[in-house]
């Protein structure tokens, strides 16, 4: 395949544009057509038969031992025969310079012979099998109905007829078998099988790619499959080609590199007729062949995630101007060469400095579940994936966790930040891999409920979230909360095996929620007014020196109090300031958060100061929190707080006020009115903000203790 520079040189702007359709890309077929065109130009060139060849099909065999088996036939004399002047069977290496000469055209069906006389055997075929395939060049391919018809209409058709004649000679066939078995020494091989033909008594043996009649027969065989497959006899007619929009002979049973369209199907509509498929999917012969050639590029732009196969196909938005198409070729070439990165990342590296108007690339994105060859489901799809969204999401996320006070430890001098950070957690620290995470779906795999990835579900929210982000469509808050909570509950473990509170997970989820709510990205939405505040972007301070008011004064009370105050005020989902709407759920959510914070705070006190192995955090796991239980949990937690206050007073004599009074006072205010029995907050909403509170509370302590805390937790989380 030509390198991008070679491609640019061989196909300057004018030449390239002459090869491309005038209309912009508006459908998957348009896109595949463009890929197929570029692929043909870059591999077999622009010749008459170029689009019909499949140079990549046997690409793995290049320069391997015994990868090419050639039967030599001499048709120059009166009677065609196996080569007598040279070894009649050549076993050699398939090399780069033979690619054009063998003119291989693969037919992808099992047990079918390839379109070209050159045929690809299965992996590690034994000598007997290879011998059989070699003989079939004469006994099967040369007498194929389509091939003989093509031969009849070609001035050199006699060459193919002569091949068939040799195929009738039993002793010649035996010789072929003996020679192959002997030359392979009983070893299996992965090989291409072909013929060389001597047509002039004073000439040499020619490769099929050099003889027009072989090419023509190959072309006819490939074209025949566009109209006869499965039960179709001749699915063709005159209609408007869906790629070029021009009238053409259209064909009904061509292959689609993504298998979205096949001849047979199970359906709701009775009477669909495969013979008439050229009407419902009108594609011209030329376009069908070109689309089939898209396969290499299409496959290079896929990967598996969430049990599905994800297609990521970059394309040029708008008119197919040569400079854009050249850049697209670079991207596709890179995708073929580099398997590690996604085309989105490659495009980003190339296009990062461009403004949105200048970014010409869009992406066709789909998540596909290929159940069987003929049973595909698409779970999420867009032709409008834009570089802007994944890139911006990655950047915004990194900036968010780096700069905002909620996650930034440098912002607080003596006391911890509201939420814990940990460099082993991809969503809690600036991360060079963030774009990769976003574009592969890992971004959501880290926070959403885990599923069995062997077989993806049509409604896997991770796939939906991935496709949404790639196409800039908002994700529903309800889905996020449901996924978050179910992941938290899973990670906490069940009753028998409680695994500890996943505070880094909750912090990661919260960071993600805040970033998706970013005003410019606008990737969060809800149809439920009670969750409106969650979709609003938080207004946390960014890293600046604390103002004079924020610096705790010696007698100014507890440093934890202003921190809690500002965190709540700056988080719209919790803030009383965002509470104008009488139906607002923020006070109930705040109640859940504060209760969690108290449970986390006391739990952490129990663990460190009391050396208790089971704490309040374990006692009230997230799944135990419901609207009906919240009152009881609150009462018991506050009771516990009072116990510890009394205990400390006894020991130290001078404890100032109630323990954790900055939380308790607020909690009392919030949880009384309305009474939790009248709360209407949804369970997932309640539980997530309770979990956030627990995370906050567990992390709410002076700096010096945090060091050990973070380290220990790190080990725990990573076990």
């Amino acid at each position: 395949m030509l390198s991008p520079d070679e491609f640019r040189e061989k196909y300057p702007a004018e030449d390239l544009e002459a090869e491309l359709p005038d209309s912009p890309i508006g459908s998957l077929r348009d896109l595949q057509y463009l890929y197929g065109k570029l692929y043909t130009l870059a591999t077999t060139g622009g010749g008459e038969y170029a689009p019909y060849l499949t140079p990549d099909a046997a690409g793995d065999l290049i320069d391997t031992d015994n990868s090419l088996i050639v039967v030599r036939i001499d048709v120059s004399g009166d009677k065609p025969q196996l080569a007598a002047d040279l070894d009649p069977v050549l076993v050699t290496r398939y090399t780069d310079d033979l690619v054009q000469q063998v003119g291989h055209c693969k037919y992808a069906a099992a047990a079918g012979i390839d379109h070209s006389v050159t045929h690809q055997a299965g992996r590690n075929s034994d000598p007997e099998k290879l011998a059989r395939y070699a003989k079939e060049r004469l006994t099967k391919w040369a007498v194929d109905e389509v091939v003989t018809e093509a031969a009849d209409n070609h001035s050199d058709g006699w060459i193919i007829e002569r091949l068939a004649e040799v195929g009738e000679d039993e002793s010649a066939l035996e010789t072929i078998e003996e020679r192959i078995t002997q030359k392979l020494g009983g070893e299996s091989a992965t090989s291409l099988l072909t013929v060389q033909v001597k047509t002039e008594s004073d000439g040499g043996y020619q490769w099929p790619g050099d003889l027009d009649v072989f090419n023509e027969a190959m072309r006819q065989r490939k074209l025949s499959k566009l109209v006869t497959k499965n039960k179709a006899n001749d699915s063709s007619g005159d209609a408007t080609d869906l790629v070029t929009g021009l009238p053409a002979r259209t064909v009904g049973t061509s292959e689609d590199p993504q298998n979205y369209f096949l001849g047979k199907q199970l359906e709701k509509f009775p009477g669909l007729d495969i013979e008439e498929a050229w009407r419902s999917h009108p594609i011209s012969e030329d376009a069908a062949i070109t689309v089939m050639n898209a396969e290499t590029f299409v496959e290079a732009c896929t990967y598996r995630t969430f049990g599905a196969k994800v297609y990521y196909l970059p394309y040029v938005f708008g008119r197919l101007a040569a400079d854009k198409v050249h850049r697209l070729y670079e991207l596709l070439y890179q995708a073929v060469e580099e398997e590690e990165t996604t085309p989105i990342e490659n495009a980003y590296k190339r296009e990062r400095d461009k403004t949105i108007e200048e970014q010409d690339f869009r992406f066709y994105v789909s998540a596909v579940m290929p159940h069987q060859m003929s049973r595909y489901d698409v779970f999420g799809e867009t032709l409008n994936g834009r570089l802007h969204y994944p890139k911006q999401l990655a950047i915004t996320h990194n900036q968010f966790v780096e700069t905002v006070s909620a996650f930034d430890r440098d912002h607080y001098t003596d006391w911890t930040a509201p939420l814990p950070t940990n460099q082993n957690w991809g969503l809690l620290e600036t991360n060079d891999e963030q774009l990769h995470a976003v574009s592969t779906g890992w971004y959501f795999r880290q926070t959403f409920a885990e599923r069995d990835d062997d077989e993806a579900d049509a409604d896997d929210p991770r796939i939906e979230a991935l496709v949404s982000v790639l196409s800039g469509q908002p994700i529903a808050v309800d889905v996020l909360l449901e996924e978050y909570v179910s992941r938290i509950i899973d990670d906490e473990g069940d009753d028998e095996e409680y695994e500890g509170f996943p505070s880094f997970l909750v912090a990661s989820q919260f960071a993600q929620l805040c970033v998706l709510a970013d005003e410019d990205l606008n990737l969060l939405q809800t149809a439920d007014p009670s969750k409106d505040q969650i979709t609003q972007q938080p207004s946390y301070d960014t890293s600046i020196m604390p103002s004079l008011d924020e610096i705790p004064i010696a007698d100014g009370g507890h440093p934890a109090a202003p921190k809690l105050e500002s965190f709540i005020d700056e988080t719209p989902a919790l803030s009383p300031g965002h509470d104008d709407d009488p139906d607002s759920m923020t006070s109930q959510r705040r109640g859940a958060f504060l209760l969690g914070a108290l449970v986390g705070d006391i739990g952490s006190y129990q663990e460190y100061s009391e050396d208790r192995s089971t704490t309040l955090v374990d006692q009230y796991p997230v799944k135990s929190i419901t609207r009906s239980r919240i009152k009881k949990v609150t009462q018991e937690t506050i009771a516990k707080t009072l116990t510890y206050t009394r205990q400390e007073k006894k020991q130290q004599g001078n404890y100032p006020g109630t323990k954790a009074d900055h939380i308790v006072d607020r909690l009392r205010d919030t949880i009384l009115n309305p009474d939790p029995e009248d709360w209407e907050i949804e369970t997932d909403d309640l539980r997530f903000y309770y979990a956030l509170g627990v995370t906050y509370g567990m992390n709410d302590h002076p700096w010096n203790r945090d060091e050990t805390d973070a380290n220990e937790s790190t080990t725990e989380e990573n076990l």
């Binding site: 912009p24 890309i25 459908s27 077929r29 007619g237 005159d238 369209f261 709701k268 419902s280």
Partner: protein, 265 residues
């Protein structure tokens, strides 16, 4: 079906635009307009294809299958389509039975009326359908054929329909709200204009800005009948806003209908 010439249809000589149209909104809880790229997969167009609009109106008028393509041909009709609700889709798995000839059973084979049904005892296969949720489109339509145009106006204004209107599949029933008959006036002639409808064949003229989302799709626009059935004769490449907002377009020749800016195709 009588056919009027284009001259009687347009207001002034030389104009390629009809002078009045009917305007209605079609909406429903669900919609599915199968994309032609897939029969194994069932993805939907976001913008109701022009051929589907023609079929829908033929259903309203009671014209048989394969009987209405000339009525909606390029030189005798004009249709503008505006999505009026945010475009949203969901995946809806459905269980299907094979309708291949070998899997169909005849019911009442000897009687006068015979029905062929899939064998209900065979195993279903589940397939995922991409389905539009609450689709709604404002449609402006002009027809050169006066007789059918008048009949369409009367049927729509009476709130009637010959066949039950639906959005793509028969089970996705449609509700049609008729707004009335409006003059088609020349649209704004500025360098860039705000177009309310989906914009046909103008991808390169869309002014992209970060605040507005713009998507494109290509769907069948025109059909013709032939001896064996029907074929598509033209496709349209629509640019549209999935948020049902207007798009900024340069060089567009738009029309003005009922105070809205639309582009007919």
């Amino acid at each position: 079906m009588s056919q009027q010439s284009l001259d009687g249809w347009t207001a002034d000589e030389g104009s390629d635009q009809p002078d009045h149209c009917l305007s209605f909104t079609v909406r429903g809880p669900w919609g599915h307009f199968r994309r032609i790229e897939g029969n194994i997969v069932k993805q939907t167009y976001r913008i109701i294809p022009r051929t589907t609009v023609a079929g829908l109106l033929a259903a309203v008028l009671g014209i048989e299958r394969d009987g209405y393509y000339d009525l909606f041909a390029p030189d005798t009709s004009a249709v503008a389509i505006e999505p009026v609700r945010k475009i949203r889709t969901v995946n809806m798995p459905m269980n299907t039975l094979s309708t291949a000839a070998g899997n169909l059973q005849s019911l009442n084979g000897r009687g006068k009326i015979s029905v062929k049904l899939p064998d209900p005892t065979t195993l279903r296969q589940q397939h995922n359908y991409e389905v539009l949720v609450n689709p709604a489109y404002r449609i402006d339509v002009a027809l050169a054929d006066d007789q059918w145009y008048t009949e369409l106006r009367e049927t729509l204004s009476a709130g009637e329909s010959h066949y039950v209107p639906s959005l793509g599949l028969s089970e996705y029933l449609a509700d049609i709200e008729y707004h009335g008959e409006f003059d088609i006036e020349d649209g704004p002639r500025n360098d860039t204009i705000e177009v309310d409808s989906a914009v046909p064949n103008a991808v390169d003229d869309i002014v992209l800005d970060p605040g507005t989302r713009c998507q494109i799709e290509e769907s069948p626009a025109f059909m013709q009948a032939d001896s064996g059935g029907r074929t598509t004769t033209g496709f349209t490449n629509y640019a549209y806003s999935p948020d049902a907002e207007s798009l900024e377009v340069s060089n567009a020749s738009a029309a003005s209908v009922d105070g809205r800016t639309v582009v007919f195709v």
